[in-house]
Subunit: 232 residues, 2 copies
């Protein structure tokens, strides 16, 4: 079971206000990704602990009380394991991972643990109200690159039909072993380690019905597929 | 909670084989809609009982053993009730219903019970393998109109962002009180009765991971939004 609070489409459309707590989200899974109120940075949830990388390059553990407009989690269970033995680029590893997953037509969670020759991440800057569409916010997002870093990529693959609710294809975040660095993964090279796959055939999609702003909004989704592709 | 087995997009793309039983679906809700193996006709589930209207105009109760590629159910609970006192057309009633629902941005189930001046339905014809895309099948679908019929419209509203997984907007089926007539609603006029609304903020979307054909398929969703709009 994949649990998602909010949708990527609604976030992209500029509904950036936090609508549930990280602690509420982690009740539904110990492994996942998200952002905070105001599309503030990148959340990574690993082994039930939530971390946050902001646009200033700061990294910290979350208490669970922080609010989020969008988060996706699962209770990670390993269905398949791939061993990585040589320096390999992201494109090749992600293609291999997709071939080893049960299908392109269901969801899967992916956990990539080991040494990374290079890790290139971005962090979404926090917006203040009135919020712009995320495709505007994303035009100025800090990027960071680390070399020779150990850590874990935490993420999900969503079938193309779900592009809009999530990002069709991969959506990956990173946290290093020292818990001092992370973010939304743009590119990487992995030296060695393991890739674990958790096949998932059920999405529990929760919408923020307690949020008056969301409930009353006239949301423009007319170009949302392209906006997601440009932003993510 | 709305429970859905399969997606409308996958059905439209021609994956028409039944992948779970009606009895399995009704474990998740006593109220809903669907179709049978081969996109055979229109299923209506009301008070936990499942009925089927086929393209020959036949109507019968289902046993629960029949297979379905696509079905949507909920345990219906009434949040709002609208009384209908004058003959009113579908467009006006559905607009009024949407205004009384909690939001356009979450799901709701709608149950419209009473006397109908006119009920215009269609039934999807059963396809035999190799299946065509449903937009092709739908070009020849029998339509039936009844006047002065008592019964219940069973259906759902899905937010526009979910167009692809479901039909964005309304998707309505009908069953008459005598359990002799029903189908996928194209148009109606309602004389009198009640409209009940059940607001729903969570979709549990189940994909047919037990179906090798679905899991292995290279599904073409490139034009799916328009195909759904044309077919439904
Ligand atoms: Zn991200
Ligand atoms: Zn229908």
């Amino acid at each position: 079971m994949l649990y998602q609070h909010g949708t990527l489409g609604t976030l992209i459309a500029g509904m950036l206000q936090g609508t549930t707590s990280i602690g509420e989200v982690t009740k539904h899974g110990d492994f996942g990704i998200g952002t905070l109120d105001g599309s503030d940075g990148e959340v990574v949830i690993l082994d039930g602990n939530a971390y946050h990388a902001n646009a200033q390059g700061e990294f910290k553990a979350l208490t669970g009380e922080e609010l989020t407009p969008f988060a996706t989690v699962t209770d990670f269970q390993t269905d398949e394991t791939i061993n990585v033995r040589h320096i390999t680029d992201a494109e090749a590893l992600l293609a291999q991972t997709k071939r080893r997953a049960a299908s392109d037509n269901i969801f899967f969670a992916v956990k990539m643990t080991g040494k990374f020759e290079m890790m290139h991440v971005r962090m979404m800057p926090k917006e203040e109200p009135p919020y712009r569409r995320l495709s505007e916010v994303a035009k100025n997002q800090p990027e960071f690159t680390r070399e020779q870093v150990e850590g874990t990529i935490v993420g999900f693959y969503a079938p193309q039909l779900f592009h809009g609710i999530a990002a069709g294809g991969y959506h990956l975040h990173f946290v290093d072993d020292d818990r001092t660095f992370g973010g939304h993964v743009l590119d990487f090279e992995m030296n060695s380690g393991t890739i674990e796959i958790n096949n998932i055939d059920t999405l529990q999609q929760h919408l923020p019905s307690n949020d008056a702003q969301f409930m009353g909004a006239d949301i423009d989704y007319s170009n949302i597929a392209q906006e997601i592709s440009e932003t993510e």
